[in-house]
Amino acid sequence: MSTPSSVLTDDTRLSRADRLLLRVEALLNLASGITIFALVLLAIANVLLRKFLNAPVPGYIDWTEQFMAIFAFLGLAYVQREGGHIRMDLLVGKLRGRLLWLFEFLSVLFMLLVTTALIYGAWFHFDRSFDWNAPNFSTDSSIDIALPLWPAKLAVPVAFTLLWLRLALQLWAYGRAIRTGAERPVAVPLIEDPAEQANKEAATVAD
C-alpha cells in the first residue's frame, strides 16, 4: 500500500545528508504510528477493566492527552520529506525547471520562517512547564491525576527542530537546483512523469 518515495538519491553530500535525516525521520514517524496503536489498546483496556473489574485506568484522559502530543508531532519532518503536507498544486503543477525550483524555494523559505518562530515559542511553552528545582521538574500538570506536562511539551520543539533541519536541507537542494537548472534534483519530492509512474505502480503490485 505504501508506494516508493519520489525523492531521488545519488552519492552527493546533499543526498547522503537527506538519507541520514530520513533514517531519523522514519523512525520517529513509526514511533508516532506505534503511539496511535498504543492509544487504541489503552482505550480498549480502559473499557474492559471498567466493565469487568470496575477498575478503569486512573487518569485515562490525562494519559491519552499526553500520548496525543507524541503522535501529532513526531512525524512532522517525515511528512515534509515525502511531500505529504497538503498544498494547492494548481500553479506549481504547471511550472518547470528553474522557475519551479524558485517557487519551491520560496515556499520552503516561508515554512522555515514560521517554523523558526514555532521552535522559539514551543521551547518557551515547554520551559514554562519545566523547572529543575520542582518535584518531577514540573510547573504544569494535567487536570485529573496531575501528570507533569513537560515531557509532552518537549516533544513539540524537538519535532519542529527536526522539521527545521529538513527544511534547511530542502532549501539547499532547491537552491542548488536553481543554480544548476537540473530537471530532476535529488533530496526533494518530485512530481513524476507518466512513464515513471507506470513503472512504479507495476512495482507496487508485484510486491
Binding site: N133, P135, N136, I143
Partner: protein
C-alpha cells in the same frame, strides 16, 4: 484610551458575570477611556490562560487552579476536599484570605500575574442514577466522575473515580459508564447531568475548584493612577453582582430539581464525618508536598482553616 483584552472561556454565564460587570463599571467610571474586550475562548485555551498572562498576550484572564495544579500549587489549598465551606460569601472570604498571603503573590509573580478577585464556585455535590446513595457504605464501588482531590476522597471510601470528559458526562451517566457525577449546580445544568439524574446530594459539600481572575503585572502597573484606582474599586461591586446573580440561579435550582423529579438527598452528619476523616490524610499530604516545594504549607493550610471557621455563616 486603554483597551484590555480579557481571556475567559465557554460562554457568558453566572461564572463570568463579575468580569462582565467589571468591564461595565470600568468603562463607565473612566468615561470610556479604559475598556475591556472580553473574549470567550478566542485568545487562549482555558488551560493556557496563565501562560498567556505570563507572555503578555492579554492583560486579564480567568483560570481554575485545579486545571493545572503544578502551575499554582499555593492556591490549590482552596481546592482541598471537605474544608467545610457552605456558602459563596464564605468562599469569597476564604479565597481573599489566602490570596493575601505573600507566598501566593510570589507564586503568581512567577507568571507575571497578580490576582484581582475570585470566582466563587458552589460545592461539587454529586448527582446520580438509581437508588439514592446517602451513606458512605453505598459509595463503595460507585463509579463517579470526579477529578483531583474530590476524586481522591471518593476513592478513599471505595468509590471508583472514572475518567470521562465533562461533555461526555451526560452520555456516560445515561448509559451507565458512570453512576454519578460531581459538578457545581450550573455545570449540572449546562452539561445536562441533572436531566437524567435521580438524585442530588444537597449537603455532602466535598469541595470545589478555585478560579481567580488575574491581571498581567506590567499592564496593571502601566495603568494611570486614576484607571488603576477605578479597577481596584470595581472589584467589590463586581463580586456583589456575581453573588446576587448566582443567588438567583440557586433559587431556580430548587424549582429545577422538582421539575426534573430529582430527589434531594441529605447525607447524615455522621456519614459526612466519616468521609471528612478520610480527607485528613489528603490534607496532610498536601501540606507535606507544599512544604517540600518550598511553600509554607502548614501556614497556608492553617490560614485556610481559620478563614473557613471565621467566616462560617451564622445560624
Amino acid at each position: 484610551a486603554t483597551e484590555w483584552n480579557v481571556s475567559v472561556w465557554g460562554k457568558r454565564r453566572a461564572f463570568t458575570e463579575h468580569i462582565e460587570k467589571m468591564a461595565e463599571i470600568v468603562a463607565e467610571e473612566s468615561s470610556g477611556e479604559f475598556t475591556m474586550a472580553i473574549s470567550y475562548g478566542g485568545l487562549s485555551n482555558n488551560r493556557e490562560n496563565l501562560d498567556g498572562i505570563s507572555i503578555g498576550a492579554f492583560e486579564m484572564a480567568q483560570f481554575c487552579a485545579g486545571y493545572h495544579r503544578d502551575k499554582n500549587r499555593a492556591i490549590t489549598v482552596l481546592e482541598l476536599p471537605f474544608l467545610g465551606v457552605e456558602t459563596l460569601e464564605q468562599e469569597v472570604a476564604v479565597a481573599n484570605a489566602v490570596y493575601g498571603h505573600p507566598a501566593v503573590a510570589e507564586e503568581m509573580a512567577q507568571w507575571n500575574a497578580r490576582i484581582l478577585m475570585t470566582s466563587p464556585m458552589p460545592q461539587y455535590n454529586i448527582v446520580g442514577t438509581g437508588e439514592p446513595r446517602d451513606t458512605v457504605e453505598e459509595f463503595d464501588g460507585m463509579r463517579v466522575r470526579a477529578t483531583g482531590g474530590i476524586g481522591s476522597v471518593f476513592e478513599s471510601v471505595g468509590a471508583v473515580p472514572t475518567s470521562v470528559t465533562a461533555t461526555e458526562a451526560y452520555n456516560s451517566m445515561e448509559s451507565g459508564v458512570v453512576d454519578s457525577v460531581a459538578f457545581a449546580q450550573h455545570a449540572h445544568l449546562s452539561f445536562g447531568t441533572i436531566d437524567i439524574a435521580d438524585w442530588w446530594t444537597e449537603n455532602l459539600n466535598p469541595g470545589t475548584v478555585n478560579c481567580p481572575v488575574v491581571v498581567n503585572t506590567d499592564a496593571y502597573e502601566a495603568l494611570s493612577d486614576e484607571h488603576r484606582a477605578i479597577l481596584d474599586a470595581a472589584v467589590e461591586a463586581s463580586i456583589d453582582h456575581y453573588l446576587t446573580n448566582y443567588a438567583e440561579l440557586l433559587e431556580g435550582w430548587e424549582t429545577t430539581l422538582s421539575e426534573k423529579g430529582v430527589e434531594k438527598v441529605t447525607v447524615a452528619p455522621e456519614e459526612i464525618a466519616k468521609m471528612r476523616e478520610n480527607a485528613g490524610p489528603i490534607h496532610e499530604a498536601w501540606i507535606e508536598e507544599a512544604t517540600s516545594n518550598g511553600l509554607p504549607g502548614q501556614e497556608l493550610y492553617d490560614l485556610t482553616v481559620q478563614a473557613v471557621s471565621d467566616n462560617a455563616p451564622s445560624n
